[in-house]
């Protein structure tokens, strides 16, 4: 496996900036080898990162009004395909 970092390009999408959204999020858990779901709701900053090619786009969500209990951070990166704009 190559240790060279994969291309990641940062950008700003003004169409998404300030939009309220929900994220059906989650990730893997090592202990049980299974996926785990987490739900977030908040506001998108418009900031995004594209990982690899074809681009895998992630948006930054802040001002979280819904997050898992005890979630330790003020923001979360959400994969674009798991985002749902609430004002649409």
């Amino acid at each position: 496996m190559s240790s060279k970092p994969l291309p990641a390009s940062h950008g700003f999408d003004s169409n998404m900036a300030g939009r309220r959204a929900e994220c059906d999020g989650g990730g893997p858990t090592a202990v049980a080898r299974f996926a785990a779901r987490q739900e977030f709701a908040g506001q998108l900053t418009g900031e995004y990162v594209d990982h690899g090619d074809p681009p895998w786009r992630w948006y930054l969500m802040v001002e979280l009004c819904r997050k898992p209990e005890g979630y330790a951070w003020d923001s979360v990166w959400c994969e674009s395909g798991n985002l749902f704009l609430v004002d649409e």
Binding site: A8, D24, G26, G70, W77
Partner: protein
């Protein structure tokens, strides 16, 4: 003679005989199920790209041109930072003390070696992307995403002749993945093993069928018998996704102690709890789950803190093979696993039972 009710759109899409999908972490189960006429998906979320490439080669050497799938857990959300070592320092002393007291009362030994979780380091977008790139390079027949929306990879995958499946816990996710062009969607109910969505299988399956248009839906969650298979098809699914069923199969590399626990378990022996990882998940009851369910137990910590707290326990349980300590993710259908059978026999038993159901319903034998 009636049309064979088990010959579904999924069979035509994959060129398989039976609409039964085995999700497993064991390559031998993949081999057995695929060669029995079903379809199998190997869970590789915790493996490196090199390990994944080696496993694909191994499977191909056994199944030839028959199709199989590889499942990755594409993350759908990622915190801004993810340093597990720093996080471990934030676990409250009261929780460490609770664990140490439990450890003493139940004579729980230390793990024999380094705790696997502590070497793991998490899964960020870059690692997941590298795993995915291996599947594209190897042109595996089917890529499955056990969590995040795989829509961004559909075009590239299709150009390489690869089909893409996504697993969802809500109808709106199914709609979005269908719009992204995935080839099939697995609708998973809360009856399932592990970390599932909040909706029951009997509701999530027809809900997803209703919103997914022409995209076929596969039912998951508590599916263990031919009756479940028949019911899933009646709900509009084109097949079933099964996991717990294979954990106690003869080919499974699970410890015999876990296999025996599964064979002896009923649905009451599973618990939907967040005490292992901080995420709600369905597992077999064990000392750890019973202790955290007691009055006076501290409040379960959120992920990933609770996962770090339970890591030593899980590792010690497996290293020392203590039946009272060991656990495994298991769905509510575990009651119907009553003996240690070869995977091939499990496939045939499920198919025969489902056909009998349709014969009973229609009074007409299948072709």
């Amino acid at each position: 003679m009636a049309k064979n009710p088990l010959h579904t759109k999924l069979c035509d899409m994959l060129g398989i005989e039976f609409p039964v999908i085995a999700f497993t972490h064991c390559k031998d189960v993949v081999n057995a199920v695929v060669n029995a006429g079903g379809f199998a998906v190997l869970g590789e979320a915790m493996h490196t790209p090199d390990e994944i490439a080696a496993d694909i080669k191994w499977i191909r050497s056994r199944v030839g041109d028959k199709p199989f799938g590889i499942d990755l857990v594409l993350p759908a959300s990622v915190p801004p930072t993810g340093d597990l070592a720093e996080l471990k320092k934030k676990i409250p002393e009261s929780h460490w003390n609770f664990w140490l007291d439990m450890k003493q009362r139940h004579s729980i030994p230390d793990p024999k070696g380094q705790v696997a979780l502590h070497q793991w380091g998490g899964l960020n977008q870059e690692i997941a992307r590298r795993q995915l790139d291996v599947l594209l390079e190897e042109r595996v027949p089917v890529i499955c995403s056990g969590l995040g929306n795989p829509g961004f990879i559909v075009k590239t995958a299709h150009e390489r002749g690869i089909k893409v499946f996504g697993l969802v816990g809500k109808a709106r996710q199914a709609k979005k993945e269908a719009e992204a062009g995935v080839d099939a969607i697995i609708a998973q109910g809360i009856d399932a093993a592990g970390h599932t969505g909040p909706i029951g299988t009997f509701s999530i399956v027809p809900e997803c069928v209703a919103v997914a248009g022409d995209t076929p839906i596969i039912a998951a969650g508590g599916v263990t018998t031919g009756k479940h298979l028949a019911a899933a098809l009646c709900l509009g699914a084109v097949g079933v996704w099964t996991g717990t069923l294979w954990l106690a199969s003869r080919e499974s590399d699970n410890d015999m102690i876990i296999k025996e626990k599964l064979i002896n378990a009923t649905s009451d022996d599973t618990v939907y709890s967040d005490c292992i990882s901080g995420f709600p998940m369905r597992i077999l009851k064990c000392v750890w789950t019973e202790e955290w369910a007691k009055d006076g137990a501290p409040k379960v910590l959120p992920a990933p803190y609770q996962m770090l707290l339970s890591a030593d326990y899980i590792q010690a349980a497996n290293d020392h093979r203590r039946p009272d300590l060991m656990t495994e993710a298991a769905g509510q259908g575990v009651r119907f696993i009553t003996s240690l059978k070869p995977a091939r026999q499990i496939v045939f038993d499920m198919v025969e039972e489902a056909l009998a159901v349709f014969e009973d319903l229609t009074g007409v034998p299948a072709e």
